[in-house]
Symmetry: C3
Amino acid sequence: MEMNDELVTTGAEVTEAAITNEAAITALAEQTAVLSTQLGEAVFTANNIWMMLATALVFIMHLGFAGVEAGFGQAKNTVNILFKNTLTPVIGILTYFIVGFNLMYPGFTEPGWFAFGGFFLELPENGNTVDYAGGGYTYWTDFLFQAMFAATAATIVSGAVAERIKISSYLVFTLLFVGLVYPLIGSWKWGGGALDAMGFYDFAGSTLVHSVGGWGALAGIIVLGPRLGKYVDGKVVDKPGSSVPLAVIGVFLLWLGWFGFNGGSVLSGDPALTSLVLVTTSLAACTGALGGFLAGYVVFKRLDLGMVLNGVLAGLVGITAGADVISPAESLLVGLIAGVLVVLSAVVLDRLRLDDVVGAVSVHLTCGIWGTLAVGIFGTGMAFMPQLYGVLICGATAFSAAFLIFTVLKATMGIRVSAEHEASGLDSQEHGIRGYTITYE
Amino acid sequence: MEMNDELVTTGAEVTEAAITNEAAITALAEQTAVLSTQLGEAVFTANNIWMMLATALVFIMHLGFAGVEAGFGQAKNTVNILFKNTLTPVIGILTYFIVGFNLMYPGFTEPGWFAFGGFFLELPENGNTVDYAGGGYTYWTDFLFQAMFAATAATIVSGAVAERIKISSYLVFTLLFVGLVYPLIGSWKWGGGALDAMGFYDFAGSTLVHSVGGWGALAGIIVLGPRLGKYVDGKVVDKPGSSVPLAVIGVFLLWLGWFGFNGGSVLSGDPALTSLVLVTTSLAACTGALGGFLAGYVVFKRLDLGMVLNGVLAGLVGITAGADVISPAESLLVGLIAGVLVVLSAVVLDRLRLDDVVGAVSVHLTCGIWGTLAVGIFGTGMAFMPQLYGVLICGATAFSAAFLIFTVLKATMGIRVSAEHEASGLDSQEHGIRGYTITYE
Amino acid sequence: MEMNDELVTTGAEVTEAAITNEAAITALAEQTAVLSTQLGEAVFTANNIWMMLATALVFIMHLGFAGVEAGFGQAKNTVNILFKNTLTPVIGILTYFIVGFNLMYPGFTEPGWFAFGGFFLELPENGNTVDYAGGGYTYWTDFLFQAMFAATAATIVSGAVAERIKISSYLVFTLLFVGLVYPLIGSWKWGGGALDAMGFYDFAGSTLVHSVGGWGALAGIIVLGPRLGKYVDGKVVDKPGSSVPLAVIGVFLLWLGWFGFNGGSVLSGDPALTSLVLVTTSLAACTGALGGFLAGYVVFKRLDLGMVLNGVLAGLVGITAGADVISPAESLLVGLIAGVLVVLSAVVLDRLRLDDVVGAVSVHLTCGIWGTLAVGIFGTGMAFMPQLYGVLICGATAFSAAFLIFTVLKATMGIRVSAEHEASGLDSQEHGIRGYTITYE
């Protein structure tokens, strides 16, 4: 029975070994599960960092707009312009906290045209976890990134209507436009509403942000009328801006901010997509500048820095709808056409005596439309008609709403300062200080 | 004996299988351990990226301060102001490398009031590993982030005492204040000293940075006296700043920088906490602006851009002590009150003939105190009394130290330029150039 | 036979257990492999985020250069300077997309002096995966980061030749210099060419970017000659810049941008290396400022803000070649010497009647050479002679090429505006607007 004894002993050892293995496997499986969870959180952390920094970059666009508008505006209205531009993100962020975010992302039960998630924001249960938004960012990052976008739409209007609008009316307009109109339209696509269901595509907002702002600007300058002395005897009179360097600072900061505006619209730090978006965005800005340069030279027979600067912005607005679905080589074309369009648009507006201080309508509306349609032309797997529908539906809504608000304000509070006021400048009257006091005794 | 033979064979196979399994398990366990280490390093990498970018954002606040101070200062003193503001971070970073960091984070053996880790810095053994600071950042990131903070305290003083302080005295003051006073006080809380043990809470420095700087500023303007011609026949005479756009650039850059100032004070890229902090910070900035706007309108009967801008900064300073423990909704209130306080404080200071060129005392001291106390009122799980003790102890120390330094400097080097000097402007005398030369022949 | 029966049963169970274990181990091994892949992607995501933000920071340096040049340039040439500075990154990025990137990183089969990867860029198969560049960044990030660098070399030239160069000639020069000369020289080291094989080290481009630009600038001011009225009767005539605040904005933005310029040159988010680089970079900027301050005081007997500002840039250029291999303590010395050198260099250039509007040659060439040699002196494990060879070979090439281009342009298109043109300012003639219009009726 020696053999059997041996066998029994061996059997027992083997059994023991199997059990030991089983325990080790269970422990390893637990460790692996923990690692898997931690790994999800690591990617979540990296994604959220990207989105927070994208938020910071979009924030600085508000300084960019302030620079462009104060730089291109006349010195006598500098403080007024800056006052508006400082309060615009303030109003934008606050209204978005109170009502906008929940109007734009209401959680449609089925794709529709209106829903509302309630006033003010509170952290949802999973809002700070990797389960929220696929681990791309937290609820608070989501809110803040979108809030920075919201204020942009109003800022676009601000540049067009500058130098003659009553500041109280401007503030009321901004409250309504940014608090209600912008998020309502946005909900149709980004909130998962009816336009989204129709196949409309707008990556970072050529239509939802820029055209919406541009339509508001167009409504504003129609209702307001041109500045005094802008169109005299059929001629366009130049109103020199106070500081070209300030406008250049503004445009470069806007370009910088677009790294976050488009790059953040990936909604995560996905390496392939974010870096592609930065490249198409930058290339379109460059060819936009070239387009503005060349068209500006042909039309105005001079090296027109204003057209180069607006060309940069035109290229950026143009690529915004499709920065993730248009190839780098095609983005060159999208930007170039935008740069040419912004010059032609500026000429047409002046022919129509529509006085836009900084060219906001040409940059944001004209090129916003172009960019949205360009997705239907160049975008991988994109159709043209949904893009056209989106442009028309959003345009009709934004323009009507802005026109209505401005018209009601005109009939009630009044929207234009007095002629003396306008002539002497808005700064001395309402703000009591000058934009620049550069004197040496 | 066939059975036994079979058994023996089976037994051998099973033994072999168990051994194979054991080897596979050992290999897997090793792989899992490696993965676990690498995962720690991945999170460490992401955290450190956030902290480095937060450092860059705090750095740009120094340009923000330069913009605010040069923008609100008179044109004849622009170069002098910018000279100070350029050298301030230089002195701040260098002294922090030589003495400050090791004074502020000395590694107290038990919570106390003074300890010192030695001159100059060298990388500790684990300084660049995941073991340092819980994997939130490296030793070098730690130093640089804190160094950017250190210089802030001196910059705050700079804005208040501008337009009449002797530059040599200012530089000596900065050297001492940033090299010794700031890190000493900081060590009591952030270095794990006695105030920390008392339960005092100051997330990102409403007291440790802003009030400390504000107390220095107050001491400075008391010892210096007001600018010539500022208070005449019981009236406050406006001294218009050279460039409002420059001040606006400054404020927006400060707001941007606060993304890093507060967001980086989480000391890691933790998604939940960093994003909450950015939201409370931004909301308080917004309601601060509103508070400054409304209070400015009530008090000065005009749309006072200066008060809106200082309101933004007031809200930011106010939320800084509790940005991580105050809810977004409450942060609205903290900012609004700060915005109102900054206007009232400015009025009171002018009544007391305390001449503060940019409102630094009102922004950083008044709202720094408010923000620190607000933690005791709104902060989750926070008590009020330790906040009050912290305000008093840090205040008494910072003010006494600054007052002492300024008084000794006054008695030795002198701290004020001559009356002719002040009247003609500091630029032409000491710097030999003008801030602006905008002439066309 | 009970014993045997039992044994058989036990054997079967054990076999089953062993098989179960084997299946569990296989499943775990698969999970671990997936985790390992995902972990690689997590680090890749974090690294790429760092590199994209570094790209954004280098981009904003172009606004920094614009600020420095427009700030130090005369008001009558402001628009012209800004026109050049806006188009420079545009041309830089576009030529780099079309030809530069593939000329600079051609994939040498063996280290040589010339290779070319073809016109235009297309995503390589693995370009967006963790396999590209060791998971440090994607192909598109790689391109954009390097494109932002490329434009820098041309911008450096722009500052030196300002206020008298013909804009058409400048644009042609930029096209050739940035499209061909810069990437060719860059390929010798960063593209893995002959200089790299010689042991030459240039971390972030003291030679490859700054000196190359500086040599171009030197060639430009030699061929162009000084501005009218700059050197009269053996004396240097000051030409006051339009706006010192604008120059300060520029320098601070350049310093900020250097966080990305040097920090991004680590080519990943490696915590130890990136944070060391930021510290050496910042410390050298600080002592550079001190060096400029002190040397400026000794030489010019005044508190010369221009020398402090150029001192900052000098320190930054000086540390750029060795920011990763020089210790923080040694970086203090590298920066200090750079700050002194920039002042001495400016004096020498004026003695030689080489008129450099913003001191670009002193900052970028003189300190670029110093920084490159400093690697051979202070750099851990670095030799001196390869550094010297690199300086000489790159210098001879860059200077000759730039001199040739400028000379040919002079003989063909002409490179200098007419004397009347120069006297009245370039803005009114070619651009039709003024840089500043600060008038109050």
